[in-house]
């Protein structure tokens, strides 16, 4: 009856217990994202050591999908280089928009987001954190 494909247990778990939520005062890279359709807001904070992301946090308000997706992001990008983070960002984006991509392992939390692609209105929710990450990484490239 309820959309099990969308509301996967792992998504709800991240929503109820977001991994790294709250401002990161000593972040050196931040960006704000907004979904104009629903007014959801998100700030992403990264702290890097050289080229490597050593801490990632997010803050903001949004639906379960946007919040869970942001939580997964903060967990997934820790320890990655900015270049690796860009690769991950593109892979998740491809998964959410139904484009060809290297699939995530089933035991990778990010794989739970794949179901979102069947709910066109919600894709933007799941993308919000990743688009915001893309903005940070884009600024770094310039």
């Amino acid at each position: 009856m309820v959309d099990d494909e969308l509301y996967r247990e792992i998504i709800l778990e991240h929503y109820h217990h977001p991994r790294y939520k709250g401002a990161l005062p000593d972040a050196n890279l931040t960006a704000e994202g907004m979904n104009p359709l629903c007014g959801d807001e998100l700030t992403l904070y990264l702290k890097t050591d050289g080229d490597r992301i050593v801490e990632a946090r997010f803050d903001g308000r949004g639906c379960s999908i946007s919040q869970a997706s942001a939580s997964m992001l903060t967990e997934a990008v820790r320890g990655l280089t900015l270049h690796e983070a860009k690769g991950l960002q593109e892979r998740v984006k491809a998964m959410l928009t139904g484009a060809p991509h290297e699939p995530f392992d089933e035991d990778d939390d990010l794989s739970a987001l794949e179901g979102v692609k069947n709910y066109p209105v919600r894709i933007k929710c799941a993308l919000l954190a990743w688009t915001t990450l893309g903005e940070i990484l884009g600024q770094q490239e310039e």
């Binding site: 009856m1 309820v2 959309d3 969308l6 509301y7 709800l12 109820h16 359709l37 629903c38 007014g39 959801d40 807001e41 308000r61 949004g62 639906c63 379960s64 999908i65 919040q67 709910y119 919600r122 929710c125």
Partner: protein, 419 residues
């Protein structure tokens, strides 16, 4: 919770039979359409008007001399007269537009650019839809006029003390909504108009949520401009209307230039057609305009007083059920009599998108989001709300189906305060 039964003010089942879309099933359930503040469904009569027009009468209006042109013009102008009468206006005072937004833009550009100058004050309220904010921001940027927003009280009523305070600045224009599409508040538009007129301000009322749901008489309100949309009141999308006092329409320069709206065109300059055609440049939306007339006929047959009562019964039951839930917050006035046919609410622990998604799995269509009212959201300190909005074909059983489906939200997201 006991579920209230009501004695409907008219035969709702007979009405429902006129709306083909209500036969639809969504996700295996009968459609429960509770998003009427966004757009209403259309009765067979309106759909048939469109088909009949294109199969029998289609021609351009106000030009050709042939039979079809004459019939199309006659049908279009008859519809204008019906829509005008519906709100207590003369046909010459009613300009067909695409929707409320275009009607407000027409006033902003045609009246605003000619009458506003640097330092002039425009009074708006914080419960306005973006369509009654953004056009004024654009025109203020061009003219140097200043916007002043009247807040609403914690109960969701327009703050009348703050309004009177705002009038001390002697604004040139007061532009305020008749009924809020988020809070449901009905504003005292007659009082607002007479107070604004006393300081010499013109008054525009955004009637998008009012005209579909209650008797409206612009002469009685006394306002200068009144804007509304057809698609929220059984007519097709793409047709709306602006009422303006005759003298104002005559004084105002045109909004858009082109065919139809002219009298004489020379190399350098042109003169304008009579009102209201002066404001309808190009081939108008003939078919939808004619169907707007059919929609108005339909509403009049049921009776606007009856529709108002019906809306209020559904709102009263919704408020009663939601007020008893400790995990739900309701926005706007608590008295059903001071509301239009909608209720905005939030779960304390679940985002409205998730609520709407779960209800959709039951075939129940509700709206979630900022409803084009980000100023209200900021004041309520939320990013979005859920909203149910009713119309003449909704039933008390649908209210109950909606209320029962809310339990599924708790099943997926856990109970408030513990999971």
């Amino acid at each position: 919770m006991n579920l209230l039964q009501i004695e409907p003010t008219y035969d709702v089942e007979a009405i429902r039979a006129d709306f083909p879309i209500l036969q639809r099933r969504v996700k295996g359930y009968p459609l429960v359409y509770l998003d009427n503040a966004a757009t209403s469904q259309k009765p067979q009569q309106v759909i048939e008007t469109l088909v009949h027009y294109y199969e029998n009468t289609n021609a351009n209006v106000h030009r050709g001399l042939h039979t079809l042109a004459e019939e199309a013009t006659e049908a279009y102008e008859t519809a204008r007269a019906k829509v005008a009468r519906f709100i207590g206006a003369e046909p010459e005072s009613l300009v067909f537009t695409r929707n409320t937004t275009e009607a407000i833009n027409l006033v902003a550009y045609a009246w605003g650019l000619a009458n506003l100058k640097a330092g002039d004050v425009i009074v708006l309220s914080e419960m306005e839809h973006h369509s009654n904010i953004v056009p004024w921001q654009l025109v203020a940027r061009i003219t140097g006029a200043r916007l002043h927003y009247v807040p609403f009280t914690p109960e969701g009523e327009l703050d009348m003390e703050a309004f009177e305070e705002a009038l001390r600045q002697e604004p040139k224009l007061v532009a305020i909504t008749h009924a809020s599409n988020v809070l449901g508040t009905i504003n005292p538009v007659e009082q607002i108009t007479s107070k604004a007129h006393a300081v010499g301000a013109k008054v525009l009322i955004d009637g998008a949520q009012a005209v579909p749901h209650r008797p409206v008489n612009v002469a009685q309100i006394g306002c200068d401009f009144y804007a509304f949309s057809g698609h929220k009141m059984l007519a097709p999308t793409g047709i709306g209307a602006l009422y303006a006092r005759r003298e104002l329409l005559e004084e105002m320069p045109p909004f858009m230039g082109g065919g139809e709206m002219i009298r004489r065109v020379t190399h350098e300059y042109s003169t304008w057609a009579d009102i209201p055609i002066k404001f309808e440049a190009g081939t108008p939306n003939i078919a939808d305009g004619i169907a707007f007339g059919t929609a108005v006929d339909y509403l009049q047959q049921v009776g606007m007083e009856s529709i108002l009562q019906h809306d209020q019964q559904l709102v009263a039951e919704t408020l009663r059920l939601l007020e008893a839930e400790e995990d739900i917050v309701i926005y706007g006035p608590r008295d059903p009599a001071s509301r239009c046919g909608l209720v905005s609410f939030n779960f304390k622990h679940v985002h409205p998108h998730d609520v709407a998604q779960i209800l959709d799995a039951h075939g129940i269509a509700i709206r979630s989001g900022h409803h084009c009212c980000q100023l209200i959201m900021r004041r309520l300190d939320v990013t979005a709300t859920a909203r149910v909005s009713f119309y003449l074909y909704n039933t008390i059983e649908e209210v109950h189906a909606f209320w029962k489906a809310l339990d599924d939200v708790r099943k997926v997201f856990g109970k408030y305060g513990g999971r």
